[in-house]
Amino acid sequence: MNARFLLRRLMTALARTPTIGIGIASLLLVASLALAYHNEDQARVEKIREVEAQARVLAASLTGPLAFDDQTATFEYIEAMKASPEFDAVGVYGLDGRLVAGFARSGEPLPRTNTVARSTVRGNEIVVAAEVEQGGTRLGSVYVGAATESWARRAGRYLGIAIVLVMACLLVAVLGAFYASVSAANRRLEAEIAGREEAEEALRQAQKMEAMGQLTGGVAHDFNNLLMVASSGLELLERTTDPIRRDRLKDGIRQAIERGARLTQQLLTFARRSPLSPEVLDVGKRIRSLQDLLERSLREDIRVQFDLAADLWPIEVDPSQLDVAILNIAINARDAMPDGGMIRIGAHNQPAAGDQRHDMVRISIRDTGSGIAPELMEKVFEPFFTTKSVGTGTGLGLSQVYGFLRSSGGEVRIESRVGEGTTVFLLFPRSSQPLPRTAARDLSFNRAKHHAAVLVAEDDEHVAELVCEMLRELGYNAKRGASAAEALRILEESGPYGVVLSDMIMPGKMNGLDLAHEIVRREPDLPVVLMTGYSEAAASAAAEGFPLLVKPYTMETLGEVVGQALRRAPPQPVP
C-alpha cells in the first residue's frame, strides 16, 4: 500500500459523500483551535520566563545599592523599570523583608512584605519574586508585577487568522460537496453511456438483421433455383451417356453450387455480430463482392449495374456497415420499383473543391423508381419513418445509413424526382492510410509435383471421404483420422506427414484448434491447415495465424492452400 493508493482511496471516499468533506473541514477547525490554545499556553509560559529574567536582572543590579543603603541607585533602577509600561508594580525589599522602594501603577498597592514564593498569574497580572543575593549572601528581594496581554487584544490578534481559517474550511467543505456531486453525476453519466453503447450495438445488429430479413426471401428463391439446377442436372446426368452433354450438365451443376456457396458465405459474413471496427478498404472491390448477394436477392425484374472507377481512393470505414448501408438503399430502391427497373451503383473520386474541403469518395445508388415526394424528403432519415405497409418495413434502413455516414465523417445526400427515380449519394472522406497488402494469389500450382502425405482430421464421414479423394486426385497420399485424438495417434504411428488438414469443430476433448496447437507443440515444422464452414470459427483460426479453408471449397482452392502450406514448411521425406 503506497501513499498514492491511499490518496486515491481517500479521494474516492471523499467523492462518495459530502459529509467526509465537511468532516475534514471540522477536523481542521478543531486542530487549529487546539493549536491556538497550545500557542497561547506557550506564550504565557514564555511571558512568565521573560518577567522572571527581568526580575533577576533587577535583583542582580540591586545587590550593591540594597547592601549599602544607596537609595539613589535603588530609585534609579526602579525608575528605569517604571519607564516600561509592561510593569505594573515593582518593589524592592530589604533583608528584613520591609519595603525599601517601589511603585504600583494601578490597582492594589505593593505588599508591605514580599511573600511571593514562586511566579504566579493573578488575573491579568504575572507576579514574580526574585532574591537579591551576592556571593551566596541574601541581601533582600524584588517583586515584579507585569500585565499579561488582555483577552481582547489576543482575540484581535487571532481574529484575522481565524477568518482565513474558517474560509479555508468552508472552501474544503464546499469543494468536497461539489466534487462528490460531480462524481456522482459522472458515474450516472458513465452508466448511461454504457447503456447507450449497448443499445446502439443492439440497434446496429437489428438493422443488419432487418436488411437480412429483407433479402432472405430473394436468397431462398435463388437457392431453390440453384438446387433445382443441381438436382435436375444430376438426374439428367444419370440418363445420358453423351460425353459432351454430360460435361455441359456437370458445368451447370458446379456453377450452381459455387454460386450457392458464395451466397451463404456472404450471408454468414454479413450476419456476424462484430463490433464497429473501421478498416482501410477499396470501395470498388467491396461493392463488387456484394454483386452476387444483390443480384440474386433483390428481384428478377431488377437489374443491377455497376459503374466503379478503377483508381478509387481508399476510405476508412467499417466494412460490414458499408455493406448494410448499400443493401438498405438497394432494398428501398427495389421497393420503389414494383414493376421492375434498374439499380445503378457507381463509385467515383471527388477531389476537394469549393465548399468541400477534403478529397471524398462518392458512392451513388440510382434507381428508376417512383421517387420521393418533396414533403417527405426531410423525414426519410428519421428512425422508424416508413412508407411501407405494416410488416414489410421497420423504417430503420435509412437511419442506419445516416448514422453510419455520420460516424464515418462522411455525409449522405438524396436527389429525387417523383416518377423518375431517386439517387442516394454517400460521401466518404479519403483515407490517408494505404490499403493493407493482400497476399498475391499463388498461381504456380502444379499437381504433378506433389506426392507428400496429408493427414486429414474430419469427423464427417462423407466430407472426409470427398476431401481424401480430392487430395489423392491432386497427387497427395491422404490418410484420415475421425477425431483429434485419432489424428495424433496416426501421426505418431505412421508418419511422417507433410501437412495436417483438420476440421475445426470435432467431437471429443480436443477441437481442431486444440489439435493444431498440440501439433505445433510436438512438431513445430509440420504445417496445419484448418477448415470450417462457420464464420466465427474461421475468425478465431485467422486470429491464431493458421491457414484456413472455408467450406465449401473447390479442389483448386484445396490444392492451392495445401501447396502453399507445404512450400512454407521445410522439405519432408516422401513415405
Binding site: 545587590t63 550593591g64 545599592p65 547592601a67 549599602f68 543603603d69 544607596d70 541607585a73 528584613d96 520591609r98 543575593e133 551576592q134 556571593g135 551566596g136 549572601t137 541581601l139
Partner: protein, 171 residues
C-alpha cells in the same frame, strides 16, 4: 528593625562611657557593623585563604572596638559562599593570623602593616587612613572609599558593584 533600635540604644549607652575619645553617633557604628560583613559577598579572596569550603570567614577587630556585640549580632546566621562568619577581637596582628577582613580601629596602624600583601581586606575609619576600604561620612550617610591598588597588592578582588558604590576609588 528591632535589632537596629536595640543597637542604637546600646550605642547610646556606650557613648556615655567616659574615656571614649569622642562620642561617635552610635547609629553610625551600627551601620558600619552591618557594612563590614556585607563587604564580604563583593570580595573575592584567593582560594588558599580558606581552609575548606565551610571554613569560617574571619573578621578581625584590632585596636579600639567601636562595635561591641553589634557586629556579633549582625553576622549571626549569615554566610557567604558557604562560609559562616566569625568575629575575633585581637590585640596585635601577625601575618600568620587567619584574618579575611581586618577592621583596624584607633591605634592599630601596626596591624595594617602586619597584613600588608596578605590576602586580607583591611577596613579603617576615614580619619585613620591606610585601609583598603575607608568609611567616610557624606551628608550624614555612611559611605566608603576604596583603594583598589592596595586590594590588588593584597591579592584580593573587589566586585565592580561595590566599586560603583564607593565615593572614591583609588586605582
Amino acid at each position: 528593625m528591632a535589632h537596629v533600635i536595640r543597637s542604637i540604644a546600646l550605642l547610646t549607652l556606650l557613648a556615655a562611657v567616659p574615656g571614649g575619645s569622642r562620642a561617635e553617633p552610635p547609629i553610625e557604628y551600627a551601620v558600619k557593623a552591618s557594612y563590614l560583613y556585607k563587604f564580604a559577598p563583593f570580595v573575592q579572596w584567593p582560594a588558599a585563604a580558606f581552609a575548606g569550603p565551610s571554613a569560617p570567614l574571619i573578621i578581625c577587630i584590632a585596636g579600639q572596638d567601636p562595635f561591641g556585640h553589634m557586629l556579633d549580632d549582625a553576622v549571626r546566621g549569615q554566610r557567604v559562599n558557604g562560609h559562616p562568619f566569625e568575629v575575633r577581637h585581637v590585640d596585635s596582628v601577625r601575618p600568620s593570623m587567619p584574618c579575611h577582613i581586618l577592621y583596624a580601629g584607633g591605634g592599630a596602624a601596626e596591624a595594617l602593616q602586619a597584613v600588608a600583601s596578605a590576602p586580607v581586606l583591611t577596613v579603617t575609619d576615614g580619619g585613620q587612613g591606610g585601609g583598603i576600604i575607608q568609611f567616610v561620612t557624606v551628608q550624614g550617610h555612611v559611605r566608603f572609599a576604596i583603594n583598589q591598588a592596595a586590594a590588588a597588592g593584597n591579592g584580593i578582588e573587589i566586585s565592580s558593584k561595590l566599586l560603583g558604590l564607593a565615593v572614591k576609588v583609588t586605582r
